[in-house]
Symmetry: C2
Amino acid sequence: MFVILVYDTAAERNPKVLKTCRKYLHWTQRSVFQGQLSAAQYRSLMAALTTVIDADHDSIVTYTARSPELIDSHTLGVELGGPGDIL
Amino acid sequence: MFVILVYDTAAERNPKVLKTCRKYLHWTQRSVFQGQLSAAQYRSLMAALTTVIDADHDSIVTYTARSPELIDSHTLGVELGGPGDIL
C-alpha cells in the first residue's frame, strides 16, 4: 500500500519518531513521510510509533491507498525530499 | 477530488498560506489540510497559493485522489482537526 504519514509530536520525541519513520518511509517535507509498504510493514510501523509517542499529546495521521497510482502528488515551489534525501 | 495539502513555508508567509488554505480545505493537523474540491476549486487554490508563497524557498505538496473512498485515514494519538476545528 502507498502510505503518507504526517506527524505532530512534541520536540523531545521528534528524534525517535523520525528515526522510526525513516526505517520504513522516505522523508517528503517537514513532518511528512511517504512510501510503499506491505500491510505487515504498515502494522509494524504503527506498533513502533505507538511505543514512541505520547498518545495524550502527540498525533500521527496516516493516509493509505491500495496503490500509488490512485494518488497524484504535486509540488508548488521547492521540491524537497525525494527517495535519496535524508532529513 | 479529495485533496491533502501539506505546507512548509517561511513563518512570515504562514498566515497568508493558512488563510488561503482555510478558504478551501479543513485543517487536519499542524501544516496539513484536507478536503473535497472540484477540479476548478483545486486550480483556484493552487493559483492563489502561487501568489502567496515564495517559490524559491517555500514548498507546498498536494496529494489528490479522485474520491475520498480511495484513501483511508488513520490517527495515532490525539485526534486534532476536524471539519469544525479552526487553527
